[in-house]
């Protein structure tokens, strides 16, 4: 073996190899494996946590979406019901308005009728009174002086007219 150049010795090379194999194996079993195991476990733990957080987030998003859908549905329903109740209220109000209009029309018609009858009665009364006055005046003309009777006739006629206007008002 000493014949090799540069003092190369096969046995010493093998001794170096043996030394390194012992060292590499020892370092692997004593240090590398436990540290790597710890690191892998921690990585797995954080990956698990990350996954759990992602799952929860997805679940929450799903829940939020379903809640939003429910809210939209409720809002739609609310809108529909509001429109419906508005329609009902409008119909009821219209009905009431129609009824009120009818009542008002009836009242106005009744008032007109009574006013007409009062007017007709007043006209008839005044005409009757005029007739009576005319009769009285004619009697007085026939009986008393013509001048005084004529004045009296005129005064009575004016009075009758005033009464008629007053009734009209």
């Amino acid at each position: 073996m000493s014949g090799l150049p540069l003092n190369i010795d096969i046995q010493q090379i093998l001794l170096h190899m043996l030394n390194f194999v012992i060292l590499a194996g020892g370092l692997y079993f004593i240090l590398y494996a436990p540290v790597k195991k710890f690191m892998d476990q921690r990585e797995a733990h954080y990956a698990e946590m990350d996954q759990a957080a992602a799952d929860k987030l997805a679940e929450a998003e799903k829940l939020a979406a379903s809640h939003q859908a429910q809210l939209d549905k409720v809002e739609d329903e609310l809108r529909e019901r509001r429109a419906e109740s508005q329609k009902i209220a409008q119909a009821a109000a219209q009905q009431q308005l129609d009824r009120a209009q009818q009542q008002a029309d009836q009242i106005i018609a009744g008032a007109r009728k009574s006013a007409e009858s009062i007017r007709a009665k007043a006209v008839a009364d005044s005409q009757k009174e005029l007739k009576e006055l005319a009769m009285a005046a004619a009697e007085k003309l026939a009986l008393g002086s013509s001048r005084d009777a004529f004045d009296e006739f005129l005064n009575l006629a004016e009075e009758g007219k005033r009464n008629e206007q007053h009734e009209k008002a």
């Binding site: 190369i8 010795d9 001794l15 170096h16 190899m17 194996g25 370092l27 004593i30 690191m39």
Partner: protein
């Protein structure tokens, strides 16, 4: 404050004067051998051999390798007993350092060989740690006695050519085993294609670490270079070497391992790819 400054200046001046006196009054060092002998011995270890438990004489690099292995295994055992059981999900400083240490090599294995990396991670973890620590080991200057009865500082294990060859050949065999276990005989073919790999890896390691050793030996040989310069050469050079060499070898092993253990794609897909490229 002024008095303190004066004292400091006086102290520094005294140091400089004494250092200059040492340099000027001394010879070229207390060396008993020429620089050529030192360099030759650093490369070949012909005269500076150490007895391995009285069984046989070996290069001091092998003793360094055993010391490094023992140190690393003791350190790993201490960390396993005292640090690893106290690991928490939110790491402290030591835990972060250990996780960085393991995670770097594990990540390198996963990124370079995504299909087949269960064994690659531990291998490059061991190799990277070994190269890094064994390169730094030469800084401690642990002493050993040679068979000639002289005291020597234990060198980096990989500056011994036998250590570098062992590392290179073992890495090549490991790549080969990865190829075989992933794609069978096709893996052998793929690995044999890179037949120069063990030589290039061995001699890259040996050359890189030996150059560091030689520069350090040269610097320490002359006492006039023994001031300030060793801080840069000894510490910075060795640290950079340790980092670069461990990165280079582990990266090469991971790359080649990934390449030879890549799963075989069906021919149709390849044809499609070629058509797409042509288009």
């Amino acid at each position: 404050m002024k008095q303190n400054k004066r004292k400091l200046i006086l102290w520094l001046v005294l140091i400089v004067v004494l250092a200059a006196a040492c340099v000027l009054t001394g010879g070229s060092g207390g060396e008993t051998e020429t620089v050529q002998e030192v360099m030759r011995d650093a490369v070949l270890h012909e005269s500076g051999q150490v007895s391995l438990f009285g069984i046989r004489n070996v290069n001091p690099g092998l003793i360094s390798a055993y010391v490094v292995t023992a140190l690393l295994l003791v350190l790993a055992a201490c960390l396993r007993i005292f640090a690893v059981p106290r690991f928490q999900n939110v790491p402290g400083r030591l835990q972060m350092l250990i996780e960085l240490w393991v995670g770097t090599f594990s990540g390198m294995a996963q990124s370079n060989s995504p299909h087949h990396n269960k064994v690659l991670g531990p291998y490059i973890f061991g190799a990277g740690t070994y190269i890094f620590v064994s390169t730094l080991f030469e800084m401690f200057g642990l002493q050993a006695v040679t068979t000639a009865g002289r005291s020597i500082a234990l060198p980096a294990p990989l500056s011994d050519i036998n250590g570098a060859i062992a590392m290179g050949v073992l890495s090549y065999l490991f790549i080969l085993s990865g190829g075989v276990s992933a794609v069978g005989l096709r893996g052998v073919g793929r690995t044999l294609k890179e037949f120069s790999l063990p030589i290039s890896m061995s001699f890259r390691l040996f050359g890189a670490l030996l150059s560091g050793l030689l520069v350090t030996e040269l610097v320490y040989y002359y006492i006039t270079l023994s001031f300030v310069l060793p801080v840069i050469v000894g510490v910075m050079f060795t640290l950079l070497h340790a980092l670069i060499q461990s990165y280079v070898l582990t990266m090469l092993v991971a790359l080649y391992y990934g390449e030879v253990s890549e799963p075989v794609h069906p021919k149709q897909e390849k044809k499609k790819d070629k058509k797409a490229v042509a288009a």
